[in-house]
Symmetry: C2
Subunit: 299 residues, 2 copies
C-alpha cells in the first residue's frame, strides 16, 4: 500500500506555557508523514527553501519517508510563529512566511502518480487542486484544511471537497465552513456538499466520524501534560491513514479503528514540542496506547 | 433501593435561540428526581414557596417521586432567569431569587434518614452539610455543586467533598476548584481532596469518570437540536444514580454503565425546554438510546 502526502514542510517558532522552541521542524505534511510512517512507507510531496537544515532532511529520510517529491527551491523555508496561552487548545499565529509549495512549482515524480492513498494535508487549495489533476489515488483521497482557506479560497476548497472521500476538519472550522452552530448539523451539512465521511477534530475532547452510514466518537487519549499541540491534527490524519493502509479493506470497522489510531498518534505529538515525541514513536508504542484506549472505553 | 435527592425546586425563565419559556418547573433536585425516577422510586428533599403551581406538584407525584420532604414555605419559590446564546453550552444568568431551601428550615421525614443512595444536588453547601449531619446513606453519597459555591462557600464545600464518594462537576468548575488548566490534572487533584470518584461533565463533549482505579470517557449522545441545556447536568447525575440503584453491586462496570446512562438521560433533557422531554421519558426510551450508544462507541 502506498501513501502520498502533500502539504507543507516548515520551520516553526512555538511558545507554550511549558517552554519555547525556535526553528523546529514542522509543517502539515511533516507531522502527517511521521504519523503515517509509523504504519507504512510514505511519499512526501512538498517544497522547502535552501535553509532547511540537512539534519531535518536526514531525520525524515530515516523515518520511512520517500523524499523524491521534496523540492528544495531558492529562498527560505515556510515559517510559522505561534503561541498558546493557558488554553492550550487555541493557537495564536504571530507571523507566517509564504509557503514554498505553490500551484506553479509542483513537480510530481512519476512513481507518485498512482498511490493507494492520497492525503492532501493542510495547504493552499490551489496546490491541492493541482495535485488532484495529476495524481489519481487508487483507494482514497483524504483532505484537510484550515480557517485561512475557508476565509480566502472557499471556491477552490469547495471544488476539492467534492473530489475528496474524507475531510478532516477541526471543530471551529467545521462551524465556519457549514454556517451551523451545532457540530452534528455542521458535519451532516459538510457531507451533503462533498466528502462521504467527515472527521471533526476537537482537540482535548477527541473527535468524531460522521458518514451517511455511521457515527463514531472517540475521546482524546487522556494526558496530564500537553506541552505543544502543534501538528496534533496533522498527526491525527496521518495516523488514521497509516493504519488504514495496513488493512485489506475499508470497512466501517477499519474506519473506526483508524479514528482511534489517529487519536493515539496525536496524543504522542502533543507530549513534546514540535515533532520531538512523534518522531520517537514506534508501532509498539501506538499499539500499547490503542489497547489502553480499548480498555478505557469499554462498557 | 432507596434514593434521596436534596436540592432546589425552582420556577425558571429560560431563553435560548430556539424559543423562550416562563415560570417553568426547574431546579437541580427536580431534574435529578425526574431522571433517577426513570429507574427507581425517589425521595425529594426540598422547599418551595406557596406560589409553586399545584400542577407541578401533581406532575412530580405522578413520577415515582416521594414528596414528603418537599416543604412549602411562605413567600415565593426560588426563581432562575437565564439565557443561552449561539453557544448553547454557556448559560448567562440574568437574575436569581433566594433559594427556599436553607440550613435553618430543614425538615427531614423519618423515613428519609437512611437511604441507600444520597444525592446532594446543586444547592448551598450549608444545606448539603445540614443534610449530611442527619442523613446516613447506606451505600453512596453523591455531590454536585456550581461556581457560585466555589466562589462564595469554598470552605463548606471542601468539607462536604471529604464526605462524598462521588463528585459531579462541570469542566469549567473543575478547573476553578482545582486551580488546574488541564482537565485530567483537575480531576486527579479533586480526588486527592475528597471524593473517591469525580465525574467531569463537558456538555456537548460528553463526560469522563476518574478514580484511583479507573478512567472512563463517554461522548454526548449526538443531537442536532439542543433546545435548552438547562438541567442537563442534574439529569446526568440523576440518571447515573437511578441506574446504579438498579444494580446489586457498585463495580467498575456498573459505574461505567451508569455514566453512559447519565449521558443518555441528559440527552433527553436538552431536547426540549425545561423538563418537557425528560418527564415524558420512560425506561424503554433510555435503554434504546443506551443500545445506540453501545453501537456508536464500539470499535
Amino acid at each position: 500500500m502506498s501513501i502520498l502526502i502533500v502539504g507543507s514542510v516548515a520551520l516553526d517558532n512555538i511558545k507554550t506555557p511549558f517552554g519555547e522552541v525556535k526553528e523546529t521542524l514542522g509543517g502539515s505534511a511533516t507531522y502527517a508523514c511521521l504519523a503515517a510512517g509509523i504504519f507504512s512507507p510514505v511519499r512526501l510531496l512538498s517544497a522547502a527553501g535552501e535553509d532547511l537544515p540537512g539534519k531535518y532532511i536526514r531525520k525524515l529520510k530515516r523515518k520511512n519517508i520517500d523524499l523524491a517529491g521534496l523540492k528544495i527551491c531558492g529562498g527560505s523555508t515556510f515559517r510559522w510563529t505561534g503561541e498558546y496561552g493557558d488554553d492550550i487548545n487555541e493557537a495564536r499565529t504571530l507571523s507566517v512566511c509564504p509557503e514554498r509549495l505553490t500551484g506553479d512549482n509542483l513537480e510530481i515524480p512519476a512513481h507518485y502518480e498512482n498511490p493507494d492513498y492520497l492525503f492532501l494535508a493542510n495547504t493552499d487549495p490551489e496546490v491541492q487542486n493541482g495535485v488532484l489533476k495529476r495524481v489519481k489515488p487508487l483507494k482514497l483521497t483524504v483532505l484537510d484544511t484550515m480557517n485561512l482557506w475557508i476565509n480566502n479560497k472557499l471556491k477552490s476548497l469547495k471544488y476539492i471537497m467534492k473530489k475528496a472521500d474524507i475531510l478532516f476538519i477541526n471543530e471551529t472550522e467545521s462551524k465556519m465552513l457549514s454556517g451551523e452552530v451545532n457540530l452534528i448539523s455542521a458535519a451532516k451539512k459538510i457531507i451533503r456538499h462533498g466528502p462521504d465521511i467527515v472527521i471533526i477534530k476537537k482537540g482535548e475532547h477527541g473527535a468524531f466520524l460522521l458518514s451517511k452510514e455511521d457515527f463514531f466518537a472517540v475521546p482524546a487519549y487522556p494526558l496530564e501534560k500537553v506541552k505543544d499541540p502543534t501538528g496534533a491534527g496533522d498527526s491525527f490524519a496521518g495516523g488514521f491513514l497509516g493504519y488504514l493502509s495496513t488493512r485489506k479493506k475499508i470497512t466501517r470497522e477499519s474506519l473506526r479503528t483508524a479514528t482511534v489510531m489517529g487519536a493515539v498518534a496525536a496524543s504522542f505529538t502533543v507530549e513534546d514540542f514540535g515533532t520531538g515525541r512523534l518522531e520517537k514513536t514506534c508501532r509498539a508504542d501506538v499499539e500499547k496506547r490503542f489497547e489502553k484506549m480499548q480498555r478505557m472505553l469499554d462498557f
